[in-house]
């Protein structure tokens, strides 16, 4: 037993352990990780949803609120886009054009652009300002080149500045696609177009296509595509997403921006034959051409820099090498570059399918002649004149509508135009007779082709695929598929505590992330709508200035319209916010109205107060009591009313100040009236004085002189007027008397006893007149004579100088008149012209006048004035040459001297002739010098005349030669009056005279022989040739012996020779003595008298 105890355990219970509950730890860990990830990303999700909601709902708010240019429909106003109701509303660029029922637009991006931007016109400017009556009427950008369009779109130009004044920012939209200048410039640079390329329909379409493709190139999602195009064309922001997306998809599948010949259009079949690619091909072709220096002229002809031209319609090969085209492309003769898949040549302007302007037009028949898929419903509808509205509905010219996808049958009226072999089952696509399976259009948008599925009858009807060079079939062309619809989660509808049904965006049971979207959406939409609504309300209030009730009524209508457009879930908040804004603006307008009323009342009373104060001041100035009383009463009344006017705070003290100021103003007016009366009397007295001085009477002379106030206000003037009138009446001829006669009359008057007081002033008046007469005669005697010698006025000068005889006679008469004034004692020295005449003559004979005309005038003056010619020339300040030559002519010299001297002077002025070196003294021959009397000076006029005569004769002569010296000597003699008589004898100048052959300066026109013969005759007994006095020498009359030793010396005065006057010097017993008269005075010989009747 003991052994058993060792081997048998006392407690037989097994030693099993309990199993621990272990399991699911891995998933628990993953769950924890996912939870952590959620907590990590939830804030980012919330932020993300807030951003999306804010952007989307702001955009949506903007879309339903519209742009400022297309404002939401205000009560009683038109405008804005409504994509929910066909037919489409016309929206002009700028939003100010009325609907044009004659215009219809196609579908796709082109139709949307037409509806929202350019209105289908390639010449469209902002606000259609290019139309008649617009500020840019007559401007047609479609006829400009790109360079001209860019210049027209200059931001500082009139167009950009006009748009700036319209919308507050610079913009220069142009053409059908409203391309602005900056975008046009970048597109032109990107496409490589020349500035000379015409900005016509074809170019605009190509540029628009380029811009759209550039925008869509980097957009991978539909949202990004829409945003990209909306950034390019703002008008697309008013287009709903689904409509715009459909147009984008259509464009991407082969649409274009042009319905013009040469634009993109694509036949079905061929992997590279889509319209999009073809349009791009056209752009590539244009870029390739431009890259090689070719430019497209306005007439459609391409021109190269070397002068070559290429007409796309001529059939000639395109100048761009095939290698320029993208891979797989080639250039058909006269065509755009095409792909190898294009079987039919395309000719712009001809039968090119590109010219059809359709979209995704299938070929007429496949290779087997079986018609392929027929025209699309869109093409059929378009061909039948239907237009696609931006909301997706088609509208016929008669107003019939058909909406694809609505389940309505395809319009039966369109079916009749089907091509041969085609039919349309009601409610189906047009199909061929071989199409066994009608396609129902009630569920599929006919704008897009149905997706070709394997086994579909559409696939069997297509032309067979063309093998490519590798032998493998080309990928079958897949018709454009309808974009995958984006189902919209129905809005969650809840019932509120008030028992009303209310929608929500995301379910209230959603998590915080979607709730953030809901909250942000509401805030964004309402805030954006309120902000825009506030702007609209401010604009609306401007239309109801001063009419708060009218504004409130209109604003409530606007509010209702706005709320109806808003999503249901936001209407309540939006209504509350906008209503608050309406109320605030209404209160503001009421406040403004009241303020305006107060201001108007204030302004009105102030104006009346000023007017009555002025009336009272004038009444004070007039001094009439009845006027003062009436004005005081009126002013008091308005001041009292103003004191009681609410809001003005006018006090009684201010009224008193007004009265006091009015009284001061009255005093000022009275003083001013007195001063004005004094000034008027002064003027009238001065008029009387002036009239009396002129020997005439003023109109109111008697009344003014009888007015005691005139004597009181201006005693000196009054006395002078009395004296002047008395002098005029007592001595009518006093004013026209000579100064000497006036002085005698003054002396006589001074000696006469005074009878009346006013006679004291007569003497003063006489002295005044005398002083004025002396001064006037000294300044301008002819003018004085015109005024004071009416009975003997100076002869007038004719204005017509063509009648030379009459002209010279008038000048001669004037000379005689001036000399007569000297004779009569008016002046000591004659002046022949008035100051005005002098100025005119000075201009005529001045340096600015042609030398021939100057010579003619100078000659006529010389002829007319004769011996007074030198004086006349001095009076007229004639040029020295003219002055001297005229004096020589007047003294008997040749008249040709004047013209010759002036001509030579002109040559000198023009530096044509150079004078001989050295002075006249060194050049002058000794025999000439010996003939000049002592004291004779070569004055400026003589020297200039010598030089001028030399210049006239020395053309081509070397100035340093002996010929030049001889010519100068001759010029000296000519200037001194020497000339050769017709009989060959010299007259004038320095000649040898007498037995001693003494060099003697003779007067012009007198020869030495004449002098000698005259002396012989005088000595021989013709004593009359000596003049009044017989010359005596040594107490005896002159004899031949005496005269053999005598010489004639010209009389010199002031350095100048007195013409024709000589003294006789006799060399006697080694001394020189003058011949004298009988009284011991030096005998003066008159050369004219001596030589009278003596032949030359």
């Amino acid at each position: 037993m003991a052994e058993l105890r060792k081997i048998v355990r006392r407690d037989p219970i097994s030693d099993f352990r309990r199993v621990a509950p272990v399991g699911g730890t891995a998933f628990a860990g993953l769950a924890q990780m996912a939870k952590e990830a959620y907590e990590w990303m939830a804030p980012a999700g919330v932020e993300e949803q807030q951003v999306i909601a804010a952007e989307a709902w702001r955009e949506y708010a903007r879309s339903i609120m519209g742009d400022p240019a297309a404002a939401p429909p205000l009560p009683g106003a038109q405008g804005g886009l409504d994509f929910s109701n066909p037919p489409p509303a016309w929206v002009a660029s700028g939003g100010d054009m009325p609907p044009n029922p004659n215009l219809s637009f196609g579908g796709g991006l082109l139709g949307l652009v037409d509806q929202t931007e350019g209105g289908g016109d390639y010449s469209t400017l902002f606000g259609h300002s290019q139309r008649e009556g617009g500020p840019f009427a007559g401007v047609d950008v479609a006829r400009m080149t790109i360079g001209q369009a860019l210049e027209f779109a200059d931001p500082s130009g009139p167009y950009a500045q006009w748009v700036l004044s319209q919308v507050g920012r610079v913009a220069t939209p142009m053409g059908r696609f409203q391309i602005v200048g900056s975008t046009l410039r970048s597109a032109v640079e990107g496409m490589g177009l020349a500035l000379s390329t015409p900005f016509n329909a074809q170019t605009q379409g190509a540029i628009a296509g380029y811009l759209a493709r550039q925008r869509l190139q980097g957009a991978s999602t539909p949202e990004a595509q829409r945003a990209a195009l909306r950034n390019e064309w703002e008008g697309f922001r008013r287009v709903p997403d689904d409509v715009l997306q459909a147009a984008i998809d259509e464009f991407m599948a082969g649409g274009s921006f042009s319905d013009m010949p040469g634009a993109a259009s694509a036949p079905a079949g061929g992997s590279r034959s889509s319209a999009s690619e073809t349009s791009q091909d056209a752009e590539r072709f244009m870029r390739a051409m431009a890259g090689q220096g070719w430019t497209l002229r306005p007439d459609g002809i391409w021109a190269s820099q070397t002068g070559d031209t290429w007409d796309p319609t001529s059939g000639e090969p395109a100048p761009v090498a095939v290698g320029e085209a993208p891979e797989g492309m080639f250039v058909m003769p006269g065509q755009y570059p095409r792909t190898a898949m294009d079987a039919a040549p395309r000719r712009p302007g001809g039968d090119d399918p590109l010219d059809q302007g359709g979209t995704r037009r299938p070929p007429a028949a496949g290779a087997d002649g079986v018609p392929a898929v027929g025209p699309t419903p869109a093409e059929m509808l378009t061909a039948a004149g239907w237009t696609l509205h931006s909301n997706g509905a088609w509208v016929s010219p008669e107003g019939e509508t058909w909406r694809p996808g609505s389940g309505e049958p395809f319009p039966a009226s369109v079916m009749s135009d089907l091509p041969e072999g085609m039919f349309v089952m009601p409610g189906y696509y047009p199909r061929t007779g071989q199409d066994p399976t009608p396609l129902r259009i009630g569920v599929t948008d006919p704008i897009y082709r149905p997706q070709a599925r394997p086994g579909s009858p559409l696939v069997a009807l297509r032309p067979p695929a063309r093998p490519n060079p590798t032998g493998t079939p080309e990928t079958e062309a897949v018709p454009a598929t309808r974009p995958q619809a984006r189902p919209i989660v129905p809005e969650t509808t809840i019932r509120t505590a008030e028992g009303r049904l209310a929608p929500r965006l995301y379910s209230p049971l959603s998590g915080p992330i979607l709730q953030a979207y809901n909250a942000a959406a509401g805030v964004a939409f309402v805030s954006e709508a309120v902000m825009r609504g506030r702007e609209d309300l401010m604009a609306l209030s401007q239309q109801f200035l001063g009419n708060p009730d009218g504004f409130r009524q209109a604003a409530e209508g606007y509010l209702e319209g706005l709320v109806e457009q808003a999503p249901v879930q936001f209407r309540e908040d939006l209504r509350a916010e906008i209503a608050t804004e309406v109320h605030r603006r209404y209160l503001g307008m009421v406040d403004e109205r009241y303020r305006e009323i107060r201001e108007r009342a204030d302004n009105s009373s102030r104006a009346l107060m000023d007017r009555y104060a002025t009336d009272l001041a004038e009444a004070y100035a007039s001094g009439r009591p009845e006027d003062i009383a009436a004005a005081e009463q009126a002013l008091e009344g308005i001041l009292v009313a103003r004191e009681q006017l609410p809001g003005v705070a006018w006090t009684r003290e201010q009224s008193q100040n007004v009265v006091l100021e009015t009284m001061r103003e009255g005093e000022r007016l009275r003083a001013r009236a007195g001063q004005e009366r004094s000034d008027a009397l002064k003027v009238r007295l001065q008029t009387i004085i002036d009239a009396a001085e002129a020997g005439r009477s003023a109109a109111d002379e008697a009344a003014v002189l009888a007015d005691p106030s005139a004597a009181a206000l201006h005693p000196e003037l009054y006395a002078e007027a009395q004296a002047m009138t008395a002098l005029r009446d007592a001595l009518p001829s006093f004013r026209s008397a000579t100064p000497a006669e006036q002085a005698a009359a003054i002396a006589q008057e001074r000696a006469r006893p005074i009878g009346e007081r006013f006679e004291l002033g007569i003497l003063d008046a006489m002295e005044s007149v005398h002083a004025a007469t002396v001064s006037a005669l000294d300044d301008d005697p002819i003018a004085w004579a015109q005024q004071h010698r009416p009975s003997n006025p100076p002869p007038p000068l004719p204005t017509d100088m063509t009648d030379l005889a009459a002209w010279e006679n008038a000048l001669t008469a004037r000379r005689d008149y001036a000399l007569g004034m000297v004779t009569d004692g008016y002046v000591d020295e004659p002046l022949f012209f008035t100051e005005a005449e002098r100025d005119a003559f000075t201009a005529l004979i001045g340096d600015g006048t042609d030398p021939i005309a100057r010579a003619a005038i100078g000659l006529s003056l010389t002829r007319a004035f004769g011996s007074q010619a030198g004086r006349v020339m001095t009076e007229l300040d004639a040029a020295p040459v003219l002055r001297h030559s005229a004096a020589v002519v007047a003294a008997g010299g040749s008249e040709a001297l004047i013209a010759e001297a002036l001509r030579g002077q002109q040559l000198l002025d023009d530096n044509v002739v150079r004078l001989p070196p050295g002075s006249l003294d060194t050049i002058m021959p000794e025999d000439v010098r010996a003939g000049l009397p002592e004291g004779f000076r070569f004055n400026e006029a003589l020297v200039d005349t010598i030089h001028a005569l030399y210049a006239a004769r020395a053309q081509g002569v070397d100035p340093s030669s002996q010929d030049a010296t001889d010519l100068l000597t001759g010029a000296i003699q000519s200037a001194l009056g020497q000339e050769t008589h017709a009989r060959g004898r010299l007259t004038g100048g320095v000649q040898e005279v007498g037995e001693q052959e003494a060099p003697t300066l003779l007067p012009p026109g007198i020869s030495a022989r004449q002098v000698e013969d005259g002396l012989t005759r005088a000595i021989g007994g013709e004593v009359g040739r000596w003049g009044a006095v017989v010359p005596m020498f040594d107490g005896q009359p002159l004899t031949t012996d005496v005269m053999d030793n005598a010489r004639l010396v010209p009389i010199v005065r002031n350095g100048q020779v007195v013409t024709g006057r000589y003294r006789i010097e006799v060399l006697y017993s080694g001394a020189v003595a003058d011949v004298e008269d009988g009284r011991g005075n030096i005998f003066i010989l008159d050369m004219g008298l001596l030589t009278r009747g003596v032949p030359r």
Partner: protein
Amino acid sequence: MQAAILPALAGSAATAGAAGTTIFSQLAYGAQAASALMGGVAAFQGAQAEKEAAEVNSYIGRTRAMQTDISHMRGLAGELAEMRSVFGANQQRPNVGTFEVYRELRDARARERRIDFGNRMQESADFRTAARNAGAQARMALPMGLMRAAPSLFDLYQLRMR
């Protein structure tokens, strides 16, 4: 680290939101749904393991009860045999008193055996009950996980379908 990354995420979210995508929202809701679903799986697996462990423990407890019963009966027999051998050695003849002692001992030991056996059996029954409960919990864990993921999936659905 989270604080440093979140602003960057928010910025990315803004960028993504500007482009119209909801990547972070979808990821967040996906993570939340996955967390719920995997939590359900984890609960299912845990409950299942607990059930199996409880069942094993219940079996062990029942075995121990039977072993305890046998041990008690074997001890009683030993004690009676020892008493009989003592009485036999003392030449004492069994009488009423002797049988009374035997009966008293047998009653006491039987009572003790029943108590021990009952305790062990109760212990086994407890484990069996726990296993049943864990099984029931395991059956409900997956549906519960799915239910907890439902809101997130609903949000995700809304987000994807919007």
